[in-house]
């Protein structure tokens, strides 16, 4: 009896590894968050991104954004969500009227954050984003 249970567990273990090894990319594609992205706009005051991209940690009060980072890692190429901490300030009426490219619904990220004008910032997502998980960018 003991042996039957153990051999079933060994088979179960090997089958699990086999399934995730073969169909892992399909699982990831089904479970990945579908996201809408944008690239920051460079202005004199800092990088401008839509306010919907900003998240705040309720415990620490830290603000952060998720960016989609291209990965060429084995076994599949794609984008993964990456957590980037940043400080931001709201766009005032004066700044919005001064610079055409930004509106009052945007926020300004200071130059000291890890965000660059080439970063792909995730603005909206159909699922909760987790650092390191695969995301699919909506066309």
């Amino acid at each position: 009896m003991k042996r039957a249970i153990i051999i079933s567990l060994i088979v179960l273990f090997c089958v699990t590894i086999f399934i995730f090894s073969i169909f892992g990319s399909e699982f990831r594609e089904i479970l990945a968050a579908r996201v809408t992205t944008t690239t920051p706009t460079e202005t004199y005051y800092g990088l401008s991104i839509p306010a919907s991209a900003i998240h705040t940690n309720p415990d620490t009060g830290t603000s952060y954004v998720f960016i989609a980072e291209r990965t060429d890692k084995y076994p599949e190429k794609g984008y993964v969500a990456k957590y980037v901490e940043c400080n931001y300030s709201e766009v005032t009426d004066e700044i919005a009227s001064e610079i055409d490219k930004i509106s009052k619904s945007d926020v300004l990220i200071d130059w000291l954050s890890a965000l660059t004008s080439k970063s792909i910032v995730i603005v909206d997502s159909d699922k909760k984003l987790v650092d390191g998980h695969m995301v699919i960018i909506n066309k």
Partner: protein, 254 residues
């Protein structure tokens, strides 16, 4: 009588304390890995393709090398134990010397040979040297020496084929030893870290023992990865527990 009981009780308590100390890291890691509702396990299996790939590599390398070891070692042990030829003992001592050597000594020659024969950076560069692990041959030789020569001689008259004698008479007689050697070789190959770093180059070909350090970043995913990594050797030990104990017991009695 009372004194004897006190000694027994003290020994039992002491052994229980040691058992708790030994087993507690495994229990702590397992309990922690199920924190946050066991979310770390889907993270490991679904969102960490490197982990699954490395685990598959570990199974291929450890499985291939351990099965190969059994074939090579059984044949080698038969020759050392039952075939008489000049220089047999010297050859056996050379085998034992290799077993005593630190494995780092043989790493560079293994690297050079694998480069030369074109198996560098393939699973074969790990499996082939693993197949010639001297410990299994040494263990099986000691066990085969206990089989009476008369039985082998009688079987020779009956069948005439050495391979058939090994398969149908010698191997069943030392079944426990073979299983024990297989399980020990599997575990050894499963836990290898230094060899893959020398004999493999591409990260996607590394076994899990090498990459576990990268996955174990101190968060729950690291704990879950460690638990999954330890499952297979534990299951193998649980399955072959009797054979391993008897195999090692018989070996010690020789």
């Amino acid at each position: 009588m009372v004194k004897r009981r006190i000694i027994d009780l003290s020994a039992t308590i002491l052994l229980c304390i040691f058992a708790v100390i030994v087993i507690s890291p495994v229990i702590i890691i397992t309990v922690i890995s199920f924190g946050n509702g066991g979310q770390a396990y889907p993270d490991v299996f679904i969102w960490n393709p490197t982990f699954i790939n490395a685990l598959t590599n570990s199974i291929i390398i450890a499985g291939g090398a351990s099965f190969g070891t059994i074939i090579v070692s059984t044949l080698a042990a038969y020759v050392f134990a039952k075939v008489k030829f000049k220089g047999r003992d010297l050859l056996f001592y050379l085998y034992v010397i290799v077993m005593m050597m630190p494995f780092q000594v043989t790493l560079l020659p293994q690297y050079m040979v694998s480069k030369k024969i074109g198996i560098y950076d393939t699973p074969l560069s790990m499996i082939l040297p693993g197949m010639f692990a001297p410990f299994a041959a040494f263990l099986l030789t000691q066990l085969m020496k206990s089989i009476p020569d008369e039985i082998i001689e009688a079987a020779k008259l009956d069948t005439g084929s050495t391979l058939r004698i090994i398969v149908s008479i010698v191997a069943p007689a030392i079944k426990h030893g073979i299983i024990c050697a297989w399980a020990l070789t599997f575990t050894e190959q499963w836990n290898m870290v230094a060899e893959p770093l020398i004999l493999l180059e591409s990260a996607e070909k590394f076994p899990l023992a090498v990459l576990l350090n990268g996955i174990t970043a101190g968060d729950l995913i690291g704990f879950a990865a460690t638990v999954v990594f330890s499952i297979l050797p534990l299951l193998i030990f649980a399955f072959f527990e009797e054979e391993i104990m008897e195999g090692l017991g018989e070996y010690r009695l020789k």
